[in-house]
Symmetry: C2
Subunit: 187 residues, 2 copies
Amino acid sequence: MVADNDSQKIEESRDILISAIAQTMVIYGVTPSVGRIYGVLYFADKPLNLDEIKDQVAMSKGSVSTGLRDLLDTEMVIKVWKKGDRKDHYIAEKDFFKNFFAFFTKMLRQERNIISRANEQVEGTLKDIAVNGDSEEAKEMAQGDLKDIEQTMTYFDWTLRLANAMESREIFEHFPKYKGDDSTGQE
Amino acid sequence: MVADNDSQKIEESRDILISAIAQTMVIYGVTPSVGRIYGVLYFADKPLNLDEIKDQVAMSKGSVSTGLRDLLDTEMVIKVWKKGDRKDHYIAEKDFFKNFFAFFTKMLRQERNIISRANEQVEGTLKDIAVNGDSEEAKEMAQGDLKDIEQTMTYFDWTLRLANAMESREIFEHFPKYKGDDSTGQE
DNA sequence: TAAATTGTTCAAAATAAATAGAATAAATTG
DNA sequence: CAATTTATTCTATTTATTTTGAACAATTTA
């Protein structure tokens, strides 16, 4: 049973790596359980169905279902069709660059939206006070706040450009995928 | 009382902006309360002490204290000394670029550490099986996992270079702070 | 189209996180 | 160095999130 010993060792190694992956995914805002679903799919050598995942992560069917939905939404997991099987099957998107860019661009866009909306909401009022305010003090306060808003928009213009460069992979022109390489990193 | 009306309008505008800031900070993993502390400091026209913050955010002294500690740890808030006052005073770091870079580099480093540690932990075992494994199947599995690990290290080398470029502000050479500008964005 | 299989939704329970406020510690002053 | 002020830590409570498991809906097959 030496071969079995090997596969057990591989199993243990994968468990360690799966835990690590799950832990890092917590940084990106998912629960450890969802992270573990991704980890299991990452090391699966074939597409897994809901029940197979459920057994491996030891969670309820419902939780796996909602967890998979999260992972599908963020495109970290892909649903695949398997001939001759009624069940849905899932595989992990193993390209960390892709996962990171997807997460990152979504995050920056969300942030930008929240702040932009608030800025638009107050800009009119502040501009009015800045010009027609009754006291010099009020005018100055409004002017100061408007300057702050302007600054944040400079920042968000920048993050938007960065996000676009990630989405288009243009970023690899400045930071090549492989050190010393100046290709685009496109495969 | 027209002037009072102005300052009330400014107050309301700031509340809207503070809420938006707090919301975006949630994306970055802090609680809305901690986000609000930062927001209040962001719009304060002078350094505030713990009691003043407490009154403005309507939280307990203890919670404000621990919230400030988080913000000090991530360098989003700075403690300043005010002459003739025993109390500690705090100001917000208003440079969003700085805040973002600090958050981002910390996050990537944390991620890298978790995965690197796990990789080191299993690399020996997998390498052994890849070479001396008893079954061809086990060998192939180990080789496949090692290839995955290698891929992740390529990815982490890249994120490290990106993080360094942010920390050194070299990133502004590729993505200038102001659109069309090719200066370093250094002030 | 009825029966069986698969997947999702949702209310209830379990778990985790955040907050308040009192107790404690630390610092400052006279 | 005692008294006072200020800040932090810690436990109990509240609040929010996650998870389960059963009910429901949708899909497939015979």
